[in-house]
Amino acid sequence: MKAGSHLERVLEKGMFAVAAEFNPPKGSDISVVKRKAGLLKDYVDAVNVTDNQTAIVRMSSIAASSLLIQMGLEPVMQMTTRDRNRIAIQSDLMGATALGIKNMLCLTGDHQSFGNQVDSKNVHDLDSIQLIDCVRTMRDQGTLLGGIEKIEGEIRLFIGAVENPFADPVEFRAIRLGKKVAAGADFILSQCIYDMNRFKEWMKRVQDRGLHEKCRILAGVSPLNSERIILQCKEKTLPRVPVPEGLIDRITKSQDPDEEGIRVCIEQVKELKEMKGIHGIHLMGVDLEEKVARIVEGAGLLPRPKVE
């Protein structure tokens, strides 16, 4: 065990893991955290707590993760390199560990021009791969980045990273995943998948490199509704994810697009569960919490395992 988190135990036992995205409130209102936590508890193994996603200011991922622990959930604390230099990163990792956080996700972060503080300066002292290397150095060597200065106490973190199988240059995507694994990523969350064929092409490249055996890959899924599709098709929103025409038709022409989106999502989860090299799913999306229980139950993933 590298960190001894619940997520790590589930994955190490070869069980199919379920994680869900969690957006902290746009303020200090703990009741929002409580309400969402209540909807997710018992349906997921871990909640992926976003770090000012799309550069919109929210309660910090560290604070929200700590609150979730108090509420009996297991967080994956996201950390972007957009807002912190290596001093703040390492300091926050010490603090997060002291608060009982055992999983983290290393990201570059969405560009500030997409958010609500467009005039801010981005940091990117490290990139996401260098961040992974930094966390692994702290955990496995017990030193700060640079490898000399000793850390007081342990930094036990299960290290996650992300990959978008669909972004250009697509041929680079598996290479980049390999770099993340080489830098120390233990698990990977993929960008959300609608185009299963293109995802399979990426997985083929991942398998050719043997990466599915060196890390645990959780496939991203998100229930579509017509509103979301229209937004996606305009390609004005993050993230840039291809949605096949057939799927757009199926959802928009159905009597209840929202329900159809959930049905499609359940079908996708079932397909992904059978795919070689996929070790779990990551449910994504805005205001997703209400739908998580139905998707997890519909896909036959209940009850969630209790592992020691």
């Binding site: 570059t108 990117h124 791969i129 260098q130 972004a167 240059p169 840039r240």
Partner: protein, 215 residues
């Protein structure tokens, strides 16, 4: 223009200085631009009912003391100086003329390449620690909005940056270049955390001394 008018609002006689070097080449601050801006200022002030006298000068290279000092005599005759050289040139004047206000007349943007006539594109951020050998000669520090050193973010589509569809994704260019050179194996190498604190601006202003050139 509005900004410059605001700077010179209290004055009735100013010197407008261009520069014969880089800003001439990029049509931002050469002799021609000095002439145009000077007459623009005169007209604008006349319209405001507050005439201004604008003297004009364009030294060959404003950032070199010998040329900057050509302004000394003229500077004596005016109340303020506006320089449409780059930010370096402005500061050369500031250093040599301690008693007179010097204002920037342009917003110096970047170290660019003339990609074609009338188009300039940022290519170098003078980071002090060149990575071009590792990245196929294309700089992700200057050309990636997130300065990513180990590959693209999750955003590019059709080879373009998600922030600006007119901007090529630096990592697409790097990928294509290394691919055509048959050097894709270079992409596998993890570039470690960059030493911003040693060679780059983050250490404070940099200084170069060449003993062999000192007089």
């Amino acid at each position: 223009m509005e900004e410059i008018l605001r700077y010179v609002n209290p004055y009735n006689k100013i010197l407008l200085s261009g520069c014969g070097a880089c800003v001439t080449v990029c049509h931002a601050g050469g002799e021609k631009e000095v002439e145009l801006l000077a007459s623009g200022l005169r007209m604008a002030r006349q319209k405001m009912g507050k005439r201004i006298e604008v003297l004009e000068i364009t030294p060959a290279r404003q950032c070199e003391p010998e040329f900057a000092l050509e302004l000394a005599e003229t500077v004596e005759k005016v109340e303020a100086v506006v320089s449409i050289a780059c930010g370096v040139g402005v500061q050369t004047l500031v250093r040599h003329f301690p008693k007179i206000p010097v204002f920037p007349g342009v917003n110096t943007a970047f170290l660019g390449e003339t990609s074609t006539h009338g188009i300039w594109e940022e290519r170098c951020q003078a980071c002090g620690n060149c990575l071009l050998e590792k990245t196929g000669g294309i700089c992700p520090v200057a050309r990636c909005a997130k300065q990513l050193l180990n590959g693209p973010c999750g955003g590019p589509s059709n080879g373009k940056c998600e922030i600006n569809q007119e901007t090529d994704c630096a990592w697409q260019l790097i990928y294509d270049r290394l691919s055509s050179l048959g050097q894709l194996d270079k992409l596998e190498e993890i570039i470690p955390a960059k030493r911003w604190g040693i060679e780059s601006r983050d250490r404070g202003p940099r200084r170069m001394v060449r003993e062999d050139l000192k007089v």
